[in-house]
C-alpha cells in the first residue's frame, strides 16, 4: 500500500475531512440559457421573416421593413458591445477605439459592394464614381482583391485583425494600461478617420461608399435581402455569444479575469499577460470588424464618420449600461440604448445627447453593474 499523499510532509490530521476538492460545475450554458438561445434563434430566423414577408401589410402583426432594418442595425451594434464586454468587462482593458475596427470591416465589405455596382454608376465606368471624379484610370493596389467576395471577406478579418495585433503587441509589451491605453485607442481611431477623409487614400473621402446595387450579384435593396441580412447578423451574434461563453468559461477566461483583478499576481504566477491580452484584444477587434461588414450592406453607406472618437465611446456606453461584467449585459445595453435612441431622435431630436450623457452618469452612479446587475439583484431578493 502506498502511503497517503500529504502536503509538504505534513501528515493528514486524523479526523479531518481530506480528499479532493469539489470542482465547480462548468457548463457552457445553464438549462435556461439554452432555452434563451433557442428562442432567440427561432425569433430571428422564423418569426421575423414570416411577420415581415408573409403577413400582409395591413395586418396588425405585420413587421414593417423599417423595423427589420432597425433590428439588423442593432444586432450589429450588439456584436460590438459583446466584443467590448470581452475586452473591457472580462479583461479590464477599456478600448475607445473599437469604432475603427468596426469601420475597417465596413470598408472591407464596402469595397466589394462598390465593385458589384459594375458600370451602373453615374459615369457608366468600370471604376467607382469617386475614382472617375478624381480622374483615376485604374484601381489602386489595395483594391486588388475587391472583385472577389471571398478575398474581400478575408480582408475584412485580416486587416483589422493585423492592425489590432500590431498595435496591441506594442501597447501591451510596453505595459500601457488603464486610461493611457484608452486615450491611445482614441488617438488611433481619430488618426485613421483623418486618413480616410482624404480623397487620395482611395476610400471615397468624406462621402465614403454608397449607392450599392448588388451583393453576390443579387439586388441588395429588396425586402427579401433585408430580411436575409438581418437573419444572418442575428445568427452571427448568437454564434459569437456562444463562442464568448466558451472562452470565459475556460481556464483562459479565468486568467483574463485574473489579469483584470491583479495583473502582477498573474505575472508572478508564471503567466505572460501580454499573450493573453493580445489574443483577446485581437479577437475582440475581429468581432467588431465582422459586425461592421454586416452593417454596411444593411444601412447602404459607410463613411469616415463611423471612425469618429464618439462612435467608439458610444460602444463602451452600451456595454456599461447593460452590465459589462457579463456577456448578455452588453447585448442588452446595445438594444436598450439604441432602441431609446431611435425613439428619442424622432420624439425629441435635440435632447438625445443630453439623455445619453445623463443615462451614462446615472448608470455609473446607481447601477455599477448595469441593467443586468439590477435584474439579478431583483431576482435574488425575490
Amino acid at each position: 500500500m502506498t502511503p497517503p499523499r500529504s502536503a509538504f510532509g505534513i501528515p493528514p490530521q486524523p479526523g479531518a475531512a481530506g480528499g479532493p476538492a469539489e470542482p465547480p460545475p462548468r457548463r457552457l450554458l445553464a438549462g435556461r440559457g439554452w432555452t434563451g438561445v433557442l428562442v432567440a434563434v427561432l425569433f430571428l430566423s422564423v418569426v421575423v421573416p414570416v411577420l415581415n414577408l408573409f403577413v400582409p401589410e395591413g395586418s396588425a402583426l405585420h413587421l414593417s421593413g423599417f423595423y427589420v432594418s432597425l433590428l439588423g442595425k442593432i444586432l450589429c451594434y450588439a456584436i460590438c458591445a459583446l466584443a467590448i464586454g470581452l475586452i473591457w468587462g472580462y479583461t479590464g482593458i477599456l478600448s475607445l477605439g473599437h469604432g475603427l475596427f468596426f469601420a475597417l470591416g465596413g470598408y472591407g465589405m464596402g469595397m466589394y459592394l462598390m465593385r458589384q455596382i459594375g458600370s451602373d454608376g453615374q459615369y457608366k465606368s468600370n471604376l467607382p464614381d469617386f475614382m472617375v471624379f478624381l480622374n483615376w484610370k485604374e484601381f489602386p493596389w489595395h483594391w486588388a482583391w475587391s472583385d472577389s467576395f471571398i478575398g474581400q471577406m478575408l480582408l475584412v478579418i485580416l486587416v483589422p485583425g493585423l492592425l489590432a495585433f500590431v498595435f496591441g503587441y506594442f501597447a501591451f509589451r510596453s505595459r500601457i494600461k488603464g486610461v493611457y491605453f484608452s486615450i491611445i485607442t482614441q488617438a488611433l481611431t481619430f488618426a485613421a478617420m483623418l486618413l480616410f477623409f482624404r480623397n487620395e487614400t482611395g476610400f471615397g473621402g468624406n462621402n465614403g461608399f454608397t449607392d450599392f446595387k448588388r451583393i453576390l450579384d443579387i439586388p441588395i435593396a429588396t425586402p427579401g435581402m433585408r430580411v436575409v441580412l438581418c437573419v444572418i447578423t442575428g445568427l452571427v451574434l448568437v454564434g459569437f455569444y456562444l463562442m464568448s461563453r466558451a472562452i470565459v468559461q475556460s481556464k483562459y477566461g479565468r486568467v483574463l479575469q485574473a489579469i483584470r483583478d491583479a495583473e502582477t499576481r498573474v505575472m508572478f504566477t508564471g503567466y505572460n499577460p501580454v499573450a493573453y491580452k493580445l489574443s483577446i484584444w485581437t479577437l475582440s477587434a475581429v468581432m467588431c470588424a465582422v459586425a461592421g461588414a454586416l452593417y454596411v450592406p444593411q444601412v447602404g453607406i459607410i463613411n469616415p464618420g463611423e471612425m469618429s472618437p464618439a462612435a467608439g465611446i458610444e460602444m463602451a456606453i452600451w456595454a456599461a449600461v447593460g452590465g459589462r461584467a457579463t456577456l448578455i449585459g452588453p447585448i442588452v445595453g446595445a438594444f436598450f440604448v439604441n432602441g431609446a435612441k431611435s425613439w428619442f431622435t424622432v420624439a425629441f431630436p435635440e435632447y438625445w445627447l443630453f439623455f445619453l450623457g445623463a443615462l451614462f452618469i446615472a448608470v455609473t452612479l446607481f447601477l455599477p453593474r448595469g441593467i443586468i446587475g439590477l435584474l439579478k439583484r431583483k431576482g435574488d431578493s425575490e
Binding site: 499523499r5 500529504s6 502536503a7 509538504f8 510532509g9 505534513i10 493528514p12 479531518a16 475531512a17 481530506g18 480528499g19 479532493p20 476538492a21 469539489e22 470542482p23 465547480p24 472562452i247 475556460s250 481556464k251 483562459y252 479565468r254 486568467v255 479575469q257 485574473a258 483584470r260 483583478d261 491583479a262 502582477t264 499576481r265 498573474v266 505575472m267 508572478f268 504566477t269 508564471g270 503567466y271 505572460n272 499577460p273 499573450a275 493573453y276 489574443s279
Partner: protein, 279 residues
C-alpha cells in the same frame, strides 16, 4: 554623451538581447547547495540608493529571515530577484546555472521562484477554488489554458492545499469576501500550488491574529528542508518562532547587509541596536 551613459546603454542592450532569446523553462542546478546567490546588486531611484552593493546567499532548504527598519531595501531586493526591478549592477543567480536578471517575471516564476506580496494579492472576483486552480503548476501558454481540464490528481492537490490553508469550507466563496488573514493564507496557498523551489515572503503575517500567526509559523517550518524560504518580517515574535534560536537572520540597513547571525547575537549587536533605536 558621457561614457557612463554609453556604458549603461550597452548594458541595457545586452540585457534586452539576452531576454529576447527563446526561453525553455530550465531546471535550477542545486548540487552546490546554494539556492539563491545575490552578489553586489545596487539599485538607485533618481539618485536615491535603494540597494547598495547587497550580497546574500540562501542555501538549499534554508529558512532565512530578513529584518530591517523601514526603507532598508527589503522589498526592492525581492523586486530584483523576481524581475520587477532591474538592478544597475550585480548578479542574481538561482541555483548555480540560472541568471535571473536575464529572465522576465513570468519566466522567473516558471523556473520555481514564488513570491508573496506585502499586501495580500488575490483575484478578488474569482472563487477561492479558481484562485488556486490558476496557480496550479501547469502549462502557462494561451492554447493550453483554453483547453485545460482538471485531472483527478490536480483536484486532490487543490483539496490538500485547501485543507492546509484552512479554507476548505470557503472554496466556492469569492476571494474578495475573505478576511485579511484568510487572504494572506490564500495567497500562501497559491504559492504552494505553483510548487516553487524558492519562496519569497514579504511580511506574510501582517494583519493576522496571534493564532493565525502561530499556524503560519508552523506551516513555514514544515516547508523548510524541501523548499528554500526567504521571509521578510517586522514581527520579532514571529521571527523568533521561525528561527527557533538556531537559524541565521540577516539585518538590512540602507540597502546593504548590516549584520548576519543568530537572532540573539544580532539583537545584541551594537550597530543593529543603533539603527533600530536611532542614534
Amino acid at each position: 554623451m558621457t561614457p557612463d551613459l554609453m556604458d549603461a546603454g550597452a548594458r541595457a542592450l545586452a540585457a534586452h538581447h539576452a531576454r529576447s532569446q527563446p526561453f525553455a523553462a530550465a531546471e535550477p542546478y542545486f548540487a552546490q547547495g546554494v539556492a539563491l546567490y545575490v552578489d553586489g546588486i545596487s539599485v538607485s531611484f533618481d539618485g536615491f540608493k535603494a540597494l547598495n552593493d547587497l550580497s546574500l546567499t540562501i542555501n538549499v532548504g534554508e529558512l532565512r529571515c530578513i529584518i530591517g527598519p523601514n526603507g532598508a531595501g527589503k522589498t526592492t531586493m525581492m523586486d530584483c530577484i523576481t524581475g520587477k526591478t532591474r538592478p544597475d549592477a550585480g548578479k542574481v543567480f538561482f541555483g548555480s546555472n540560472i541568471d535571473l536578471l536575464r529572465l522576465s517575471e513570468p519566466q522567473i516564476a516558471q523556473v520555481g521562484v514564488g513570491r508573496k506580496f506585502q499586501k495580500p494579492t488575490v483575484y478578488e472576483q474569482l472563487t477561492v477554488f479558481d484562485n488556486l486552480e490558476l496557480a496550479l503548476k501547469a502549462d502557462r501558454r494561451v492554447r493550453a489554458s483554453l483547453f485545460f481540464r482538471l485531472s483527478g490528481a490536480q483536484l486532490d492537490r487543490i483539496g490538500e492545499i485547501l485543507q492546509l490553508i484552512h479554507l476548505k469550507d470557503e472554496a466556492q466563496r469569492v476571494a474578495g469576501l475573505l478576511s485579511h488573514g484568510q487572504k494572506q493564507w490564500l495567497e500562501i496557498g497559491m504559492l504552494l500550488m505553483q510548487d516553487p523551489k524558492l519562496l519569497l515572503l514579504d511580511e506574510p503575517v501582517a494583519g493576522m491574529t496571534d493564532e493565525e500567526t502561530e499556524r503560519t509559523a508552523e506551516l513555514f517550518l514544515s516547508l523548510e528542508g524541501q523548499h528554500s524560504l526567504v521571509v521578510v518580517e517586522h514581527d520579532m515574535k514571529f521571527v523568533e518562532q521561525l528561527t527557533e534560536g538556531l537559524k541565521t537572520v540577516t539585518v538590512l540597513h540602507e540597502g546593504s547587509v548590516l549584520a548576519e547571525g543568530l537572532l540573539k547575537d544580532v539583537q545584541a549587536n551594537e550597530k543593529v541596536v543603533e539603527v533600530y533605536l536611532g542614534r
